[in-house]
């Protein structure tokens, strides 16, 4: 519709912010996820418990509450945090928790013989992880990880609630302008448009995730790793 075309620059600004936020979150989630995923497979029970505690906490608290906690809590703790970094941190902590589960599943899916053989050959534990387990695990988790990326893209929409001008907020601004200045209400079209764009991006990622899953299962040696479903959001 003409309204969408007129406001295309604003939508593109929003989309850019969404993608940047998703990229930052993906990078940070990977770092956190791989670290915690590895820790979760160590023999120490205490470490595994701590990791499980972190993962459970971040997955059980609504993501909206996590982000608001960081956004409102940071200034109170003396750390000034602008909206975009606050959302990035909140999403990364959550994404890292989910990533940890995926990576853990990936490492555990590598047949035990691999690690045993590597240790028998004299490799230190960190070498076993770096050279044998992780390369195989990370290849195996790629489909699940792509699924997680789709969820991360979806969850960036929460940034709208704390003032980040991402894609959903851009839609809201367009509606606001039309409502107060022109008296028309294009909510149906604009939010419908926003839905379709998210659908286009995320269904592509989901599709890629399923294709990867099929390709990898063809030659897989270990268990398939469950793709995080949006229901676990």
């Amino acid at each position: 519709m003409t309204l969408i075309i007129e406001n295309l620059p604003l939508f593109l600004i929003g989309l850019r912010a969404t993608l940047i936020l998703a990229a930052i979150t993906l990078a940070a989630s990977t770092i956190i996820g791989v670290t915690l995923g590895v820790l979760a497979t160590l023999p120490s029970r205490a470490i595994r418990l701590l990791v499980a505690l972190y993962v459970e906490t971040l997955r059980d608290i609504p993501l909206i509450v996590t982000i608001f906690t960081i956004f409102f809590g940071a200034p109170f703790a003396g750390v000034p945090l602008e909206p975009l970094p606050a959302v990035a941190i909140g999403l990364s902590l959550w994404g890292g928790a989910n990533g940890a589960e995926i990576v853990r599943g990936g490492i555990q899916s590598v047949p035990a013989g691999q690690a045993e053989a590597a240790t028998a050959l004299g490799l230190y534990r960190w070498q076993v992880y770096l050279k044998v387990l992780l390369p195989q695990a990370l290849r195996a988790v790629l489909p699940a990880y792509t699924g997680l990326l789709a969820l991360i893209v979806q969850s960036t929409s929460l940034g709208a609630l704390v003032g980040v001008t991402e894609f959903l907020k851009a839609g809201g601004l367009v509606i606001e302008r039309s409502t107060v200045m022109q008296g028309i209400n294009p909510s149906f079209q604009i939010y419908g448009f926003v839905l379709l764009v998210y659908f286009a991006i995320c269904s592509t990622l989901s599709f890629a995730s399923r294709r990867l899953n099929r390709r990898l299962s063809a030659g897989a040696q270990g268990r398939a790793i469950s793709v995080p479903d949006a229901s676990r959001l």
Binding site: E56, S157, L168, L195, S231, L233
Partner: protein
Amino acid sequence: MEFDLDYLMRQIPALRAGLALTVQASALAILISIAIGLVGASVRTLRLPGLAHLFVAYVELIRNTPLLVQLFFIFFGLPAVGLTLSLFWSGVLALSLWAGAFQTENIRGGLAAVSPGLSEAARAVGLTRAQYLRLIGLPLAVRTGLPAMLNTCVSLIKNSAYLSAIGVQELTGVAFDRIASDFRAFEMLAVLLVGYLSVVLSLSFAVRGIEYRLQAPFRR
């Protein structure tokens, strides 16, 4: 950072009312979403023309779009085409549609796990496909899919927090409203964190317990 316990105590009535709303909305949405799931799974399995495709599109749409945008679309967008639901019912509808998509997949997965011999036997005995579903297929599917279904219900309760974004005064909404007026973020956020953690954690454990019990006949 001071923690004003007195302030917190004064907010308890409002927070309790918010929690009641959370429970109400979640309960209704759970019931509706399971109903959607049963219908959707049956439609897909029976391969009803047109309707089956509708459910496929519905599930894909829900899974690939953010719940927040779905909520805004229902609350702000639908009135423009004539469907104006109250705040509460907009929220319940959004949660129901969202969870309904996952319940459809959960029950469908359960149905697929039912051994084909059963449906063949049912047909041989003279039952229609609909009767098979009602008497044999769906009950077995629900039993198999129960853990997944319950996990979706727990996620629904957790995600009822999103309703605060359109102003529903459920638990999160009440807390955010207080923060916006009184700026006591520490106290309110502490309540939310403790509240959701305890509810969701205990429910998750309960689900895991049920899952374990259901596996009993298959464990030697």
